[in-house]
Every structure is written in structure tokens, then in C-alpha cells.
Amino acid sequence: MKKSLFLIPSLLLLVGCQNDCKITESTFFLVMTNIQYYPEEYINKEITLDCFTYNVKDVNNKEYLCGVRKCTAGFGCKCGKDTVIGFILNYDGDIPEPKNQYEDTNEKAWIHLVGKLASEEKTKIEINSYDAEGNIADTTEIVEFLSFNVSSLETITDYSGLAYFVSK
């Protein structure tokens, strides 16, 4: 009883990320989803996360190097097809080239990132749609990514504890 009396106010004080935002395996999906919906809440916070590199190519063949993880479409709703959740990376140094980015495997180019959101605004990227067989369809779709100013980047060699696909 005494424990629960202390637990409830403590939980209420832990409202999301305070000044720094360390995204862990257990909070990855929840916090990353929240960042996509409410970027203004995270704009000046230092964000730490583990993700893999991923190239997004638009209809004009312009490439955007991102740090992402795979998840279900709709950020939690299982109604649609799988997608990725993450950021476009702004970094002066070298970013590892994506590896097996489309394959359902954990063998990807994993990186540990520290940085801040560049802006609340999302970059709209027009990409080709794919049909059920994975072939490029005649239609296009718009995907939106937040940009992330990376202050520190480390390559992760032991990624056995990390999951390329995240869910609630």
C-alpha cells in the first residue's frame, strides 16, 4: 500500500522525456512515434538512440540517408503495410552505408546516435509505390521525415540485443 502511494506520484512525474531523451529498446517505438507526432516537445532535447542506416530515394533519384527502424504502418495500427520510423541524418562525418536495408534480417548497418532535432518541420519525400510483389507501381506516395542533427555517431558492432523491427 505504502509502495503504491509513492509509485503513482513518481510515475506521474516521469512524464515522457525531461531534458535528455535516451531512447531504449523498450521505449523505442513509443517515444519515436511520439516524436513524429509532437516534434515541438523534443526540439531542444538531446536525443540518444540506436538505429540502422537506410537510404530513401525519391522519384527524382535524390537520396536521403536516414537512421531508422522498421515498424508497422500507422505507427502502431496494424491496418497497413510495414514502414520505417526514423530521421534524415545531418552529419559532417562518415555515416556507414546501408546494409540489407530491405531484407527482414538484423544484419544491418547499426549506429548509435546522439543529437537534436533540426526542426519541427518534416521533409516530404515523394517516392514510388510498390505493389504486393515488391515491383515499382505506377503511383507515387509521400513519406515524411524529421531531420536530425547528429553530434555523435558510433558504429555498433554487437547488435544482438537490438531489433530491426519495433512495435508497441
Binding site: I8, L11, L12, L14, V15, G16, C17, T27, L30, V31, T33, N34, Y37, Y38, E41, A73, G74, F75, G76, C77, K78, C79, G80
Partner: protein, 199 residues
């Protein structure tokens, strides 16, 4: 003959007294049950293929009433930030206000029921009855508000208009329980009235 009448009257009084005690205890137990009903899905997205996709229960709304930060990812708030607040802001705020009223009314009703358990009083049962009517009305309004989220942006945006998805609510059960509480209280009030008349 007089002795027999007295004996019968005493047995009847005892039975009445026992019934009054039973109803007083029952109201308190039912109100305790109501606190458990707060764990039911206040609003949730149900997918016919996958079951419950996202959910907010009554306690999530009660916790929110203490800090009023609808964008928080904290697990004590369930999936309130996304998708509910993001896609159905005003519905969530209305439901939040209603849930807060329901919660504090529950506490007041528990206090009245506990007081009644100590010393049965018809005036208290009258106050209880008025409050329990308000209680049922607010619960019904909360249930309707939760269901009207089907008209928000949750289904077209978050669920991409998937016909297998809908926003549902289990507030109907606490509402039905509130009706039972109200009926038991009316019976108790009548028993107390007949007891007073006999005296």
C-alpha cells in the same frame, strides 16, 4: 397472543434490519467494483483481425487529470497521446473532464456509503440518490462521447479507413453498474422509510 405478536414483530424487524445492512454493504461493494471497472477500455481501436490496437482505460484518464499533459508517452496514460489526443483532441478533453467528474463522484459516493454503513440515514440515501442519478448521466455521456470518436480523424487517418477498425468503449459496463447501485439505493431508502414509519 400479545407475546406472539411481539415475537413476530421482532423477527420482522430483525429481517428488515438485516436487509438494510445487506443493502448498505452491497452499495459499498458495488462502488468498490466500480473502481475495478476503471480498468476497462474507456476508448479503444478495435481491429477485427488483430483485436485491440490502441487503448486508454479509465485509470489512464484519471492519471491524466493530475498533470494534464496529453502529449506524454508515459505508460500510465496508455495510448492517449497517439492516436487519441492527436486525432481526436476535443473528444479526449471532453472525455477527460467527464472521467474526472466520474472519479470524484465515485469517491463522494463511497464516502456517503461508508457513512451510511456506520449509521443508516434516509437523508443521506436521498443525497446519494441525487448524486447517483448525476453519476449515471455522466457515465452515459462519457460512453456516447467515446463512441463519437468514430467520427473523428482516428479511423480515416490513423486506421487509413480500414473497414475492419472501429472505436469502441466499455464504459457501458460501469454505466450499467451505476444503475444497479442507484436501484439498490432506492430499495434501501424505501426500507429505511418503512422502518421509520413503523417506529
Amino acid at each position: 397472543m400479545t407475546n406472539n405478536y411481539q415475537k413476530e414483530k421482532t423477527v420482522k424487524e430483525m429481517t428488515n434490519e438485516e436487509k438494510i445492512n445487506l443493502y448498505r454493504g452491497m452499495i459499498l461493494v458495488l462502488l468498490g467494483l466500480m473502481l475495478i471497472f476503471f480498468f476497462f477500455g474507456w476508448c479503444y481501436v478495435y481491429n477485427k483481425d488483430y483485436g485491440v490496437e490502441v487503448n486508454c482505460n479509465g485509470w489512464n484518464f484519471i492519471c491524466m487529470s493530475f498533470c494534464w499533459n496529453f502529449k506524454s508517452t508515459n505508460k500510465v496514460f496508455g495510448d492517449m497521446a497517439v492516436p487519441f489526443y492527436y486525432y481526436a483532441k476535443y473528444y479526449v478533453i471532453v472525455l477527460e473532464v467527464m472521467t474526472t467528474i466520474i472519479f470524484y463522484l465515485t469517491l463522494v459516493l463511497i464516502a456517503l456509503a461508508a457513512f451510511n454503513l456506520k449509521k443508516a440515514n434516509r437523508r443521506i440515501t436521498t443525497i446519494f440518490m441525487v448524486l447517483s442519478i448525476v453519476y449515471s448521466v455522466v457515465l452515459l455521456a462519457a460512453f456516447v462521447t467515446a463512441l463519437t470518436m468514430n467520427g473523428s480523424k482516428i479511423l480515416p487517418k490513423y486506421c487509413s479507413n480500414n473497414p475492419k477498425c472501429s472505436v469502441d468503449s466499455l464504459i457501458i459496463f460501469p454505466f450499467l453498474l451505476s444503475l444497479v447501485i442507484m436501484i439498490v439505493n432506492i430499495v434501501l431508502r424505501n426500507k429505511l422509510a418503512s422502518k421509520e414509519a413503523e417506529q
